[in-house]
Amino acid sequence: MSRAGAKCPTGDTLSAFVDGEVRAPWDQAIARHVEACPGCREAVACLGRLRERLARDPAPEPRLPPLPPHSGRVRPVPVWRRRIALPLPAAAAAALAILGLGVALAAVAGRPKLPWMSIRHGPAGTTEVIVAAPVEDLEQLLRTLDQPSRASQLVIHLPADSQLIMVGEPQLVREADYSRGRRW
């Protein structure tokens, strides 16, 4: 399939010409050139012989297997098995959103569970605790307040309807002892 002419079409163009894949008017121009150029004529003839050889090469006859019975009606693919094509930026954004949500949930879960309560640290080293409902877990409240801070004064506002009862040794005094190791 070698040709010498400088103005000859390239090999892939001649191959496309043999396949009828060159569009008008170029196909006519190539046909005229092939008529006139012995090298291209031989190349086209060689390509033709090759195509013919491939076409008449014996191949086994296909044995059509019976159609599988379940193929009569195609079951729809369940949603969870369907593939979703997602552009890369969208996939990255979704992954980031999931990560952010996870971090936020972890932060919320890690916080001390003190409902109905707000703790405010004042500028003069005071800490104000406002309790809006009866405290069920006094131990946890005191542990939270015991965490290191610069507060020198601690004010706890209990709800007006709080009812404190004395059971055995006064519990408030004992918890105050526990807090910061300071005796009141």
Partner: protein
């Protein structure tokens, strides 16, 4: 998709797919396996394709990917077999079968098998699936220009391999 549609697609396109699979795989049993897998994928597909032409392109695309997997597997097996053959002089049944299959293959098929996969698949689609360059480009996801070049290179190599037979 009704049974009649599926049966029509199956009976109409199976011979073409088998021809393509055989020329790519070079072996009847592998070609049949690839065709079966391709049609199973088609049956599992929920939505029907608009027409027979689109179905043909879809099936050929799937078949070509499956054939590529078989090709990789065959290459791995062949390397492993060669390693084994070097280390041992024992003849195994599969080795004998392979020799018989090799002898049964035609000269053209043996020449096709020696082409790199990306050239062979394009030429097979051109010669045995009756696809034009545009359709091949769509099926393989490459440009028409690329198809033109690959077809030519495949023919060039094939002509060298079959020099005495042309």
């Amino acid at each position: 998709m009704l049974h009649a549609d599926v049966a029509h697609v199956y009976e109409t396109l199976y011979p073409t797919l088998f021809r393509v699979a055989y020329r790519i795989c070079g072996n009847r049993s592998k070609a049949e396996d690839v065709c079966q897998e391709t049609f199973i994928k088609y049956f599992e597909r929920g939505e029907p394709l608009p027409d027979l032409e689109q179905t043909k392109y879809w099936l050929i695309r799937v078949l070509r990917n499956l054939a590529l997997n078989h090709e990789k597997k065959r290459s791995r097996e062949s390397k492993a077999y060669q390693r084994f053959a070097r280390n041992s002089r024992q003849y195994t049944e599969s080795g004998e079968t392979e020799v018989l299959q090799e002898e049964a293959r035609s000269l053209v098929q043996r020449a096709l098998d020696r082409l790199p996969y990306n050239l062979r698949s394009v030429l097979v689609l051109k010669e045995y699936a009756d696809l034009g360059y545009r359709e091949i480009a769509r099926v393989l996801g490459i440009s028409e220009g690329n198809v033109k070049v690959r077809v030519f290179r495949a023919r060039e190599r094939l002509a060298q391999l079959l020099e005495d037979d042309l």
